[in-house]
């Protein structure tokens, strides 16, 4: 059941009504049953079994770590719990890779992996590992109530695609008594609707162009490939940010504040800044649990220490997305961008001073342009179906405009282009000019807000594409 499906529009109000009319001490049961029901709707019973297994392992190991004083025993339970969670994750995520290797080595023709889906597994296993590490580091206390802990991992708004919540942020909220708050309900519904707009009106329309180019890259050259790449860069943002808004909006209706995952990432002025704004809950996870320990362990390597830690961290980040060379190179590119910035940053400042542009407003725009292009360049490897396709895209960027007018721009109609340009302009203005965003929000908060609610819903119903149900990050 996807957030933009008809089933979810029935599921959500039903769950809310049951939740609302249930006594506080049983509300966690309602949410837990709803979350398991939500997960079961993906028609893959093994997913529920995996969720229960990870819940049981992390709950038990968490209690063991907290109960022991001896550092060696605590560390042993941390390793047991983390290793078990990572093994489950690796089996699910890399099954296609293992299967293709086995087929090649032993001459088999197994197709098991094509029938297996792993939606949500990486998100709740990452949460489970962060819970164990935080108990080990004595940042958090272990949770004794199995039901609350199970809900912390399974809470349905963030189950399939995150945000990856820390125990300290989410667990206390799940235990709080619920009081109906009209403003929270209204802002939750509005946020959910914004997310739906980003997904079905903007992201899925951008996908028409990105998919057309990237599913047949050899039909295009030059500007067509550049437009396809920019379309994908915007599509993946609107798709994932749309999902996150819908997740956070749903959470808010139940009195739960989930972590914000995006903060205008394409207005970043450096790649480091981009990672502070993009998939924030995930970047916090990899920085806290991979980068920082490596950086500290390699602190005597001079400048090479942080650089190596960044490259390894983002290599892991790439592999987390899947066992393909495209994801590996995408992660490696981001690692290299960040590692090289640790060396050139002082020289960059000196260069800006020497050129006299350090206080120029154009410098920020230039940095945003460069960062967006660096990130878009990396998306080529992320999106391409093979390394050969990726190489073709980057080697044909400056070779003519084959397929641009007839195949690409006009194929989806003029209205599509105009609608997308209007939406993207609006989002860009809202990201760079806070007063535009405030004025826009005031439409939904003012006296005639109901008029704008109806217009907004009508706009989504008329302009939305409801056939394409999947969210991109659902498969990670």
């Amino acid at each position: 059941m996807s957030f933009n499906s008809a089933q979810y529009f029935i599921f959500l109000p039903v769950v809310f009504l049951v939740f609302y009319f249930t006594a506080d001490r049983y509300r966690w049961v309602v949410l837990l049953v709803a979350s398991y029901g939500f997960y079961a709707s993906f028609n893959a019973p093994y997913l529920l079994a995996v969720l229960l297994m990870v819940t049981g392992i992390s709950y038990t190991c968490g209690l063991r770590i907290a109960a022991k004083q001896d550092e060696t025993i605590r560390k042993r339970w941390l390793w047991i719990g983390s290793f078990a969670c990572l093994t489950i994750l690796a089996l699910f995520k890399y099954l296609p890779f293992f299967e293709s290797q086995a087929n090649r080595t032993f001459g088999l023709s197994s197709t098991l992996s094509s029938t297996i889906i792993s939606i949500g597994v990486s998100y709740f296993t990452f949460q489970a590992i962060s819970y164990l590490v935080d108990i080990y580091l004595e940042i958090e206390e272990s949770e004794c109530h199995f039901g609350h802990f199970a809900l912390y991992l399974a809470f349905f708004p963030k189950l399939s695609q995150g945000p990856i919540e820390r125990a300290g942020d989410l667990l206390p909220q799940l235990k709080q008594p619920y009081r109906f708050d009209y403003d929270a309900m209204r802002s939750g519904m509005l946020l959910f609707t914004w997310g739906l707009f980003k997904k079905v009106v903007v992201a899925d329309r951008l996908a028409l162009y990105a998919d057309q180019v990237y599913n047949n890259v050899h039909n295009y050259t030059g500007l067509s490939l550049i437009i396809g790449t920019y379309a994908y860069a915007l599509q993946i943002y609107f798709d994932f940010a749309g999902y996150t808004d819908m997740a956070r909006g749903t959470g808010r209706m139940f009195g739960i504040n989930l972590t914000e995952n995006f903060n205008s990432p394409y207005s970043a002025t450096s790649v480091a800044d981009f990672w502070r704004r993009w998939h924030i809950s995930f970047s916090r996870w990899i920085l806290d649990y991979i980068f920082k320990p490596l950086q500290m362990a390699w602190r005597n390597w001079g400048q090479a220490g942080p650089a190596a830690a960044l490259i390894v961290t983002f290599l892991v980040c790439g592999i987390w997305h899947g066992a393909t060379w495209g994801f590996v190179i995408w992660g490696l590119l981001h690692g290299i961008y960040l590692a090289s910035s640790t060396s050139y940053r002082p020289y960059q400042k000196r260069l800006h001073k020497w050129l006299g542009v350090e206080k120029s407003p154009w410098l920020k725009w230039w940095q945003m342009f460069v960062t967006f292009n660096l990130v878009s360049f990396a998306w080529v490897f992320f999106r391409s179906k093979s390394l050969g396709d990726a190489w073709y895209v980057i080697s044909s960027w400056f070779h003519g405009v084959k397929g641009l007018r007839s195949d690409l721009i006009l194929s989806q109609g003029r209205q599509n282009i105009l609608l997308l340009l209007a939406c993207i302009t609006l989002f860009v203005l809202a990201a760079i000019r806070p007063q535009v965003a405030e004025r826009f929000n005031s439409l939904f908060n003012g006296t005639s807000r109901w008029l704008f609610y109806y217009l907004f819903v009508m706009l989504i119903l008329i302009c939305g594409l409801f056939g394409k149900a999947e969210f991109i990050y659902g498969r990670f």
Partner: protein, 76 residues
Amino acid sequence: MVSEKLKSVILGELELDDFDIVDSTTADMVPGWDSLRHVRVILAVEQVYGIRFQTIELIRIKNVGDLQALIDRKTT
């Protein structure tokens, strides 16, 4: 309580003339104390006090008060 010695090491590495550093001060409260400067601060502390931290000890540090307590433990 944060000693003057630790305070001067931190301010020196962060190239700050002055900043009110207390037990509850965290890196994100101090201008310029990013993850890269943090490594330099830790290396400088190890050098000035003649001690060596374990990685796990460094990861457990939440604020300057924790760092001071760790130094006190290592030097006594």
